[in-house]
């Protein structure tokens, strides 16, 4: 089959690789009908995540049709149309039984490797380095889905692929980002980053009852989408002093909760960016926490900082004094996608949201490398790329 393979930093190639096979009894093989490039894939693309191997099949946002099931999968059959959650979860460990699926204790065969870097390991993830298990990803014609009796959700024919594809990651991720804000009536939520996850976090914040959402980015097309489709007020961080503007908008109190939908490759104009880039280059810090620092400083006393942007290693100059003295709470995590599949599918079915509005580019699988380059550069106002393998 054809697959989009990571061959090195900024080097992706469409290669012929063997078709996936059933390896465990609870596996299914899915013929992929739609798959997407995630913002977090750009961290792999840029070589920011350790433990990638040349030849790794990329991709963790995908859906398709069940082709084959292992003897342990009773709830799916050939021909079922399913969306696959990006974290792999066994359903039987303590974490899974507490609905913390992205912390599954059994799905990462390289847990020992992750423990060395993070102290403890999270779940296995499709196509996302060997720290998270070394599972071939979904930017391919087919994929093997472990624990297919737990993860994939069947979707009705009445909904198109594009309407449900983002259940695999970014819709639940944006939603969990908003949910972690424990939104109360009247709340103002600030969202750093208007990429696909930020856009869906904005929408979700409104779905969960936010009064106002203020979105921060520097790309006009993304700010426009946040405003026009998401209903957010927007701040262009290169043209505005974000902290000042947020104070002003909230009577000096600050947003009730701040969502970091940017992560480890944040950008800011000027000297702070140069500082973090230099430290990253010298391997003195692995992640650039520019948006996170600002989110902490901006948040109102006693408020919540919700981190859904991806971090990989260590950050520098975290404003702990501000965080502690002002009684802030931080909530974060890889999304427990399984928890949100049903309720969010219902919201899509009821027409409360159609996440497909964020798609700007539809490409063939063969064009994945170009799609990555375009997405990284934000060329052609690129916000979300969906690939069609068949």
């Amino acid at each position: 089959m054809k697959a989009n393979c990571w061959m090195g930093k900024r080097d992706l190639r469409i290669q012929n690789v063997p078709d996936p096979k059933i390896l465990n009894k609870r596996d299914a093989i899915v013929r992929i009908t739609a798959t997407a490039i995630c913002g977090s894939d750009l961290h792999l693309y840029n070589g920011m995540v350790p433990t990638m191997e040349a030849g790794d099949v990329m991709g963790h946002e995908f859906m398709g049709v069940v082709e084959e099931t292992g003897p342990g999968v009773k709830n799916l059959k050939r021909g079922d149309r399913v969306v696959v959650p990006f974290p792999i979860a066994c359903g039987g460990c303590w974490s899974c039984s507490h609905q913390m699926y992205s912390l599954c204790e059994n799905s990462n065969p390289n847990a020992g490797m992750a423990e060395k870097l993070w102290g403890h390991s999270g779940a296995g993830i499709f196509g996302y380095s060997h720290l998270t298990g070394g599972f071939a990803g979904g930017q391919a014609e087919y994929a093997r889905v472990p624990f297919a009796d737990v993860g994939p959700i069947k979707v009705p024919e009445s909904l198109t692929d594009e309407q449900v594809l983002f259940l695999s990651d970014i819709f639940p991720t944006g939603y969990m980002g908003a949910e972690m804000c424990s939104i109360q009536p009247g709340d103002t939520i600030a969202v750093w980053g208007c990429g696909p996850v930020g856009q869906l976090a904005i929408k979700s914040a409104y779905l969960l009852g936010a009064e106002r959402v203020i979105a921060i980015d520097r790309f006009p097309a993304r700010l426009r989408m946040a405003h026009d489709k998401g209903g957010a007020e927007t701040l262009h961080y290169e043209e505005t002093d974000v902290l000042e503007a947020l104070q002003e908008a909230t009577g000096g109190r600050g947003p009730d909760a701040c969502i970091d939908a940017v992560g480890l490759e944040a950008h800011t104009p000027g000297i702070v960016h140069a500082y973090d880039r230099a430290k990253q280059a010298m391997m003195l810090e692995s992640d650039r926490p520019i948006a996170l620092r600002q989110a902490v400083m901006a948040c109102r006393n006693g408020g919540t900082v919700s981190v859904i942007g991806v971090y990989g290693g260590f950050i520098d100059k975290f404003p702990m004094g501000s965080f502690m003295n002002r009684s802030l709470t931080m909530r974060t995590g890889q999304t427990h996608v399984h928890r949100y599949l049903k309720p969010l599918l219902e919201r899509i079915e009821k027409g409360e949201i159609d996440p497909s509005y964020i798609i700007t580019h539809r490409l063939k699988l063969d064009e994945a490398p170009e799609g990555f380059a375009k997405f990284l550069a934000k060329d052609d106002d690129c916000i979300k790329v969906v690939l069609k393998p068949h």
Binding site: A3, C5, V17, P18, D19, P20, K21, I22, L23, N24, K25, R26, E53, A54, G55, D56, V57, G72, C90, G92, C93, W94, S97, E105, N106, S107, P109, N110, A111, G112, G124, G127, H130, G133, G134, F135, A136, G137, R144, P146, F147
Partner: protein, 316 residues
């Protein structure tokens, strides 16, 4: 290891720790207040003396951190000895200068000489301990590993007690055969395809709670082990605790065993326990596109399933 050796080992490690903290204290003093220090030891301060003392301070600090973080490593103590020699020669040189207070300097010289003797003693002890382990005079490796399994102790115990299915999660164990009267025969496949075999006998079994065993004379790998199955708090299943002690064999087997258990014997046990947890909680060992290959392999589907060593799948 005899009682006596144990005692003296403890003494040495206490002195070593003391020397580590001494290094850090002296280092900090040299870096932060070289002026006061030079007055104390009777050297009239000049700018280059202060710079030299600061430099020595960083050397001390480095040695101190090294000693405290790797207390078994003789290299750090030998580095202190080398530093002591430098200190002694600096002090002797200062003694020849008329500007300095020779009384105080003599005191400093004596103090450094005393510390040097202690450094040499500890460095030699640690070096000897390191090489005697290599000669097999002491227990070569011990490991304790624990894991939580989301099942009741009875169930986890009975899985383990069914010895013949242990190869389902123990990576290097090829087979376990019961030979009667609490005895079993084990075959392990080491790196390079070397077979290791041994007979073991159960030394204690308390159903649902505890198991222990030891290898019998003639074993390729002399060892003793035990597993405890405790009920974890608050419905968290079973807290399983494995303790292993390996007595070092000689020659060929020794090298193979070292590879088998690696530098860190606990790491291999931990990996086995993770697989045990997978087997009990999910039904089998979880495979990824990379994990089914020995060593690193790209996350890309395998060519043929038939070629794979999926022998880790449980006996069903």
């Amino acid at each position: 290891m005899s009682e006596r050796e144990n005692e003296s080992g403890r003494d040495v490690s206490q002195i070593v720790r003391g020397l580590g903290w001494f290094s850090i204290g002296l280092g900090l003093a040299e870096i932060l207040m070289p002026g006061k220090l030079s007055r104390l030891i009777g050297i009239n301060k000049e700018e280059n003396t202060l710079a030299l003392l600061r430099f020595y301070g960083f050397r001390e600090l480095g040695a101190g951190i090294g000693i405290l973080s790797q207390p078994q490593e003789p290299m750090w103590l030998w580095s202190r000895v080398a530093g002591d020699v430098v200190d002694l020669s600096s002090l002797l040189k200062a003694l020849n200068s008329e500007e300095n207070d020779n009384g105080k300097l003599l005191g400093a010289l004596l103090a450094v000489a005393g510390v040097t003797a202690l450094d040499v003693y500890c460095a030699e002890q640690l070096s000897a301990a390191g090489s005697s382990e290599g000669r097999g005079q002491r227990m070569s490796a011990q490991a304790t590993e624990t894991i939580l399994i989301n099942r009741e102790p009875d169930e986890v115990y009975s899985y383990w007690h069914n010895y013949e299915q242990l190869p389902s999660f123990m990576k290097y164990i090829e087979s376990v055969t019961l030979t009667g009267e609490g005895r079993s025969h084990w075959v392990a496949k080491g790196p390079g395809g070397i077979d290791l075999e041994w007979d073991a006998e159960t030394t204690e079994e308390r159903p649902g709670q505890f198991l222990s065993w030891r290898s019998l004379p003639g074993a390729d790998v002399h060892h003793a082990g035990s597993v405890r199955f405790d009920k974890a708090t608050g419905g968290r299943g079973t807290l399983l605790r494995v303790e292993m002690q390996y007595a070092p064999p000689g020659g060929r087997i020794s090298a193979t065993l070292a590879k088998l258990v690696g530098q860190d014997p606990g790491a291999q046990i931990k990996e086995d326990l993770r697989r045990l947890k997978q087997v009990i909680e999910t039904g089998e060992v979880v495979a990824s596109d990379a994990s089914i290959h020995p060593g690193m392999h790209p996350a890309s589907p395998p060519e043929r399933v038939e070629d794979l060593n999926l022998a880790l799948s449980p006996v069903s």
